[in-house]
């Protein structure tokens, strides 16, 4: 790791005022320390926001759930309110990484992780996302890479929380030197075509200061499934969140988001549309699962993901019918 200055910010304002030049934000530090050790970044200053008070709350108000960016994945996975009402969010937090990492990693940091693509993480590969000429995954080792929107760069978005949060229609509050702005998570993430050097729209002098999950419609349930190669301690090869509003066993509205599928959390719009107004059963779930993979452009080594996604999308939908 390079040498750096250390700023221990006591307030959001103080943190923002220090975010100039080659400064980076440090919260849980899990991804940041990894990047520093790999030599991917050499910041001049670390601005520690871990000790800012008030950024670690989970609260439910009239308009829904508010999650502070410093809430750890462990707390999200254990929180009674989240478990009961926003089940998929607790499930995603509890299935990510390992117990130790869940004790350290924060909700804000989880959304802001850089890609885990092994070519991106290796200092030696100067890939497009680092300003280079090519994506090494396209004709390289691409078994864990994207099956949608993978022409320019085949990373998959690494955030587990983004999958349920986007399915719930969450928004993030970004606070910077020019004030605060609120953005739908759906518009927060950036595709390679929009800007290949970044995964989201946050500015260098901004912090995520709140994550807002809108109040759920009545009779809405959510379910998250992660499929890894191993039972624990693994990145997903595929993950999915299905949020379904139902009347009896008829689906009124479906929101289905796939993780580990594309450079951004990927909304399965055709699958959502096919479920609306239908009785939730094996047949309608199977059809939605098939549609969720329509338009996929798998690479040489990741065609297997299509079958995995179809299986977990179908299961996530059927879990709502049986719960």
């Amino acid at each position: 790791m390079n040498r750096f200055e250390w700023t221990d910010a006591a307030t959001v304002h103080e943190a923002i005022s220090q975010l100039n030049g080659r400064a980076v934000v440090k919260a849980g530090g899990v991804d940041l320390l990894d990047r520093l050790k790999e030599g991917l970044e050499a910041p001049q200053r670390l601005v520690n926001i871990r000790n800012i008070r008030g950024l670690d709350r989970i609260e439910e108000g009239k308009d829904g759930l508010r999650i502070g960016p410093l809430v750890t994945l462990a707390r999200l996975s254990e929180d009674k309110l989240v478990l009961e009402r926003y089940t998929a969010l607790a499930q995603a937090a509890g299935r990510a990484a390992t117990p130790q990492i869940r004790n350290m990693a924060t909700a804000g940091g989880n959304l802001l992780q850089r890609p885990r693509c092994w070519y991106f993480r290796q200092e030696e590969f100067h890939c497009r996302r680092k300003g280079g000429e090519r994506c090494f995954a396209l004709d390289g080792e691409n078994q864990y890479h994207a099956i949608f929107d993978n022409q320019l760069c085949a990373i998959v978005h690494p955030s587990a929380l983004a999958v349920p949060l986007m399915a719930f229609g969450a928004r993030v509050v970004l606070t910077g030197s020019k004030g605060a702005r609120e953005v739908e998570l759906e518009r927060f993430f950036v595709t390679p075509e929009q800007d290949i050097m970044r995964e989201n729209i946050i500015a260098p002098d901004e912090l995520i200061t709140e994550i807002k999950v809108p109040r759920l419609q009545p009779a809405t349930r959510s379910f998250y499934i992660k499929q890894g190669e191993k039972e624990s301690f693994d990145w997903p090869v595929a993950d999915v969140c299905a949020v379904l509003q139902t009347k009896g066993n008829v689906c009124l509205k479906a929101s289905i988001v796939l993780g580990a599928a594309a450079p951004v959390p990927w909304r399965a719009s055709k699958a959502e549309a096919s479920l609306a107004g239908k009785v939730i059963n094996e047949q309608s779930a199977r059809e939605a699962a098939r549609l969720s993979m329509e338009g996929a452009t798998p690479l040489a080594q990741n065609r297997y993901k299509l079958a995995v996604f179809e299986a977990i999308v179908r299961r996530a939908i059927l879990r709502q019918a049986s719960s």
């Binding site: 040498r3 700023t7 990894d34 520690n48 117990p99 624990s232």
Partner: protein, 176 residues
């Protein structure tokens, strides 16, 4: 506030129930500070990337990976390493059962396992086998195959609940 690029950071925190102060290069991880500046080498240096769990310590009672925590980050906090598990010269029940049941072979992963198991038993005195597996899922052991580790945690849990407990009879290849 900004402190500039300094040769040494100086912090105070509680380590194994004692107040300590230490000076170190500011980019050092907690793992390096513990081993190199405080001479507590019980915490082991493994993958350095958060993948093996052998550097686990408790910060404010929660298991974290000391290779991904900066030393500067524990200022004012409470850190427990494997050296802090024994009390008044007596080993922690987990240390006893790990030794008695052969839950440690080469021993390199043992300090990490002991600390996550300690965190687990403090929160949940009667964990099921599944809960133990889940709690220990972030620690790799390449010798034991884990079964003896689970049994050691179960036996320690029983003893800590004050139960008369004996180790399960050893089974090798399905034969008692």
């Amino acid at each position: 506030m900004t402190e500039g690029i300094r040769q040494k950071a100086h912090i105070e925190f509680r380590l194994n129930d004692e107040a300590v102060e230490v000076a170190f290069a500011p980019h050092k991880t907690l793992l390096e500070v513990l081993r190199e500046d405080l001479n507590l080498t019980g915490t082991k240096h493994g993958c350095e990337l958060g993948e093996c769990g052998t550097c686990t310590v408790l910060v404010d009672g929660r298991a974290v990976l000391s290779c991904l925590v900066l030393g500067l980050d524990v200022e004012g906090r409470e850190v427990t390493t494997v050296e802090g598990m024994a009390e008044e010269g007596r080993l922690h029940p987990l240390q006893d059962t790990f030794a008695d049941l052969g839950a440690a072979q080469c021993g390199y992963c043992t300090p990490g396992f002991l600390l996550v198991a300690k965190e687990l038993l403090e929160a949940n005195p009667q964990p099921s086998r599944e809960e133990i597996k889940e709690a220990l899922a972030g620690n790799l052991c390449r010798c034991t195959g884990y079964i003896k580790i689970y049994e050691a945690v179960e036996l320690a849990a029983a003893r800590m609940r004050g139960e008369e407990a004996r180790p399960a009879k050893e089974i090798i290849y399905g034969y008692e």
